[in-house]
């Protein structure tokens, strides 16, 4: 893809990814075929800050994990009052890296060509 498009994408979406992967992401996008641009552009990433707010307010009920798509862990947190309250505190710190990791997985899925639209947020 054109460097201009890639840089535009990187500027808009840099906050959704872990800093150490940004250069790798740029390289991968430059190698990607131009026909995939609409697909890349239409991806909806989850905002780590939003997830942090949800985690602070509803972390005890596992709502943050449900939003991230980790339904199994969400249920585990819901059933145990947020992992006896300890897990929800751990997740206050872990939810932002976890969100960025999830966004990276979405991008990896595009690069490997197995994308099936934006993941559901339920």
């Amino acid at each position: 893809m054109e460097a201009q498009k890639v840089d535009f994408f990187m500027m808009t979406n840099a906050k959704y990814f872990e800093g150490q992967y940004l250069m790798w992401l740029r390289e991968q996008l430059l190698q990607l075929d131009d026909s995939r641009w609409p697909e890349v552009q239409s991806q909806q990433f989850k905002d780590p800050t939003t997830l942090l707010i949800v985690s602070l307010l509803g972390g005890n009920l596992g709502i943050d994990r449900f939003m991230l798509g980790d339904t199994g862990i969400g249920i585990a947190k819901l059933l145990t009052c947020g992992g006896l309250g300890i897990w929800s505190i751990i997740d206050w710190f872990m939810i932002m890296p976890a969100t960025r990791e999830k966004n990276l997985t979405t991008m990896q899925r595009i690069f490997s060509g197995t994308t099936y639209g934006p993941l559901s947020t339920v």
Binding site: N60, T71, G72, I75, L79, C81, I86, W87
Partner: protein, 135 residues
């Protein structure tokens, strides 16, 4: 989710669960139990799964009806606490990933719309019941 991560989460969570139940069982006075639930500690309103430790203890005593009245989720938790660690340990010893496949299959089942709605309704109903009981 990666296999090693899921399995370590299950093992740690199960160990914590067993430790918590053992601690509660060794206490002399059962009626004044400590709570780690932040929602209840802060707002004094119980959360949907408040009372599930008491429910699990009642199940261990064989008092199933009282357990159901305390919190029906106790049955689900007891079942998961018995099955999940055993399954994970067998998987780890045999070097298989059957639990991981089952976990992913369950996650996709739970994302079906009507299953999600059913689950939310059940949890909400249980929450309202918990508040009414003042657990």
């Amino acid at each position: 989710m990666a296999r090693s991560r899921l399995y370590s989460i299950i093992v740690i969570a199960s160990l914590a669960g067993f430790a918590w139940i053992t601690y509660l069982h060794t206490r002399e006075y059962r009626d004044n139990e400590p709570t780690l639930c932040m929602i209840k500690n802060i707002t004094s309103i119980p959360c949907p799964s408040c009372g599930s430790s008491r429910s699990v203890m009642l199940i261990m005593d064989g008092n199933y009806l009282a357990a159901l009245k305390t919190n029906p989720l106790g049955f689900l938790i007891s079942f998961l606490l018995l099955v999940c660690p055993a399954w994970v340990l067998v998987d780890m010893v045999m070097k298989r990933s059957s639990f991981l496949r089952f976990y992913h299959a369950m996650e996709s089942v739970l994302r079906i719309k009507w299953v999600t709605i059913l689950m939310i309704t059940f949890v909400a109903a249980n929450w309202i019941w918990n508040i009414m009981k003042g657990i």
